[in-house]
């Protein structure tokens, strides 16, 4: 569905045309039926990659294809739905006019439009009465929903969403997450960028982590987290000073909890705590999350 090989992009910005390398050899592949997460910190190159795929930015060097066609050619976008980050739409249009406009542009037949508009508004949980209001009266969440609706109007085989959960309240986020899973269950390929890593971890079949214009890790969640050390978190009844702790043990979440990287250090800490008369509230075995891995990858750049 999407194939990106050694993609590079340099922007020229400012009066002196200073060059900024946004992508430095990005390669990844999204297969049919994937629910693919594209994660990374701000400015890592997520939106740049997405915009290149949709032809909004020109390819610097390397290769990017959508459904086997070069990214940028109008035909490659024939079966693609797209929602940009923080979308702005024509605020002088009503919700219905907006969807009709985009539906027509996507090549939907006039007779099919009415039915399809009703279907997608229901799919994104937009109230029918909101459809006759001008978009300038919509809240941020409603704009996000109608943006999703326009992306889905033409029954695309591939949906590309840039931060679809930004600006949504927790309930809205839950709805979008359910919508992505629903699309995935219908066989639609979904490629989306997000900062909500817990969601990516929970729902994505595969993901790519981009940091500083390069893919650092990619694969299934298990593959990305593979080899990541587990650690033990021990919550105490009293506060401890980091300098008093046995070697290898560090404080975590404040002075009333410690983190032990392995079983050995956990044992030595427990013996130390008994000797000090410090009570134990709980011991849990934690695996590194995507957030930890991303933090590690970002830290490598510092």
């Amino acid at each position: 569905m999407i194939k990106v090989e050694d993609l590079r992009k340099t922007y020229r910005i400012g009066f002196w045309r200073k060059s900024v390398e946004a992508l430095r050899g990005v390669s990844f592949e999204v297969n049919e039926g994937d629910l693919y997460g594209f994660i990374g910190p701000n400015g890592a190159g997520k939106s740049t990659t997405i915009k290149i795929l949709l032809g909004l930015l020109k390819v610097g060097s390397g290769k990017a294809t959508l459904m086997g066609l070069p990214a940028g050619s109008p035909r490659s976008r024939q079966n693609v739905g797209f929602l940009p980050e923080q979308p702005y739409f024509y605020d002088y249009l009503s919700g219905r006019e907006f969807l009709w406009f985009y539906g027509q542009l996507s090549g939907l037949a006039w007779k099919d439009l009415k039915k399809r508009v009703a279907e997608v508004t229901e799919l994104v949980s937009l109230r029918p009465e909101a459809m006759d209001r001008k978009l300038r009266t919509y809240s941020k969440g409603m704009l996000q929903r109608i943006g999703l609706a326009q992306a889905l109007l033409s029954r695309p085989r591939l949906v590309i969403l840039d931060e679809p959960m930004s600006g949504l309240d927790p309930l809205g986020r839950r709805d979008v997450r359910a919508l992505l899973q629903n699309l995935h269950s219908q066989g639609i390929t979904v490629f989306y960028s997000s900062h909500v890593l817990s969601d990516v971890e929970a729902i994505c079949t595969r993901l790519a982590m981009v940091v500083d214009g390069q893919i650092r890790r990619q694969g299934t969640v298990a593959q990305v987290l593979e080899g990541e050390a587990e650690h033990y978190q021990i919550v105490l009844t009293a506060e401890v000073k980091p300098e008093d702790l046995p070697k290898g043990v560090g404080t975590s979440l404040g002075a009333r909890a410690v983190s032990c990287p392995d079983l050995q250090s956990q044992r030595s800490f427990l013996q130390w705590a008994l000797a000090q008369g410090i009570g134990i509230e709980s011991i849990s075995r934690n695996r590194h999350s995507l957030e930890d891995v991303l933090a590690e990858e970002v830290a490598k750049n510092v």
Binding site: L54, L56, P84, F89, Y92, Y102, L105, G107
Partner: protein, 267 residues
């Protein structure tokens, strides 16, 4: 073709819902009605003054619309980032440029038609039958505005709104003066040596002036207002020639705008 027309209809809808347009139209109608009073005060024939003034108002308001709405149509889309979802649809970028242009032409045509209606009603009110030739003058005002709009669209594809407005105004002014300057050059060549005190033109400057003359459309080709007001005959060939001349510049401007637009990144 179809996506282009869909964009054109939306651009039309966008413009007719814009308050600036109504202000301009009301301003124009006010001025055309004011021509009634001018006709009373003037020593010339009433209908001549009303026709002359009304056509000048149509031309001026058309110019303002072309510049202000023309430069905003593409720029607003880029600044508000509405262009991102639009260009992500399966359509070539030049469809967007031409669609926007056609949308604005529809608005200009509608407004000129409305102003013409008021103008003709005033002529009927004073007991004069509007001459068919007036329609040719109005048609050429429309062609001139179509050229100006294409220039505004071209500049707005790669420049800021303020600079685009200045460049477009520059094309309009230079386009109205370039013919006179070239005629003046010809006059100097013919009679310069015989008339003492005539300035000598540097050959390089002359080439630049002639170059500008060919790059910028001669807007006077679209101005037959003086002739129709005094009911002088207008050859249909002249109208056809001016239309083709305008069409050529529109084509060139849109082609360059399309090529530029095709090349640019939308960050």
């Amino acid at each position: 073709m179809k996506p282009m027309l869909i964009i054109a209809v939306n651009a039309f809808r966008e413009t007719v819902r814009d308050k600036i347009l109504y202000n301009l139209v009301l301003f124009a109608i006010g001025l055309i009605i004011f021509s009634l009073m001018l006709g009373e005060w003037s020593v010339f024939a009433r209908q001549t003054v009303i026709s002359d003034f009304s056509l000048a108002v149509m031309s001026l308001v058309g110019l303002l619309m072309s510049i202000f709405v023309g430069i905003g149509l593409v720029q607003k889309e880029i600044q508000r980032k509405t262009i991102l979802t639009l260009l992500a649809k399966p359509l070539p970028r030049w469809h967007f440029i031409v669609g926007k242009y056609l949308g604005l032409l529809m608005v200009l045509a509608l407004n000129l038609a409305f102003m013409t209606l008021v103008f003709f009603l005033i002529l009927i009110l004073i007991g004069t039958r509007p001459q068919a030739n007036l329609l040719w003058a109005i048609y050429l005002i429309f062609v001139e505005m179509a050229v100006i709009t294409a220039a505004a669209l071209l500049f707005s594809a790669f420049s800021t709104p303020t600079m685009s407005a200045l460049f477009t105004l520059g094309v309009y002014v230079a386009g109205h003066l370039s013919g006179d300057i070239v005629n003046h050059l010809a006059f100097i060549h013919k009679f310069g040596k015989r008339l003492p005190g005539t300035p000598v033109i540097n050959p390089f400057t002359e080439k630049v002036i002639k170059g500008v003359y060919y790059i910028i459309p001669n807007m006077e080709n679209f101005n037959i207002r003086g002739r129709v007001v005094y009911d002088l005959p207008i050859g249909h060939h002249y109208v056809l020639y001016s239309s083709l001349y305008g069409l050529m510049f529109i084509g060139i401007y849109l082609l360059i705008a399309g090529l530029w637009f095709n090349k640019r990144d939308f960050i």
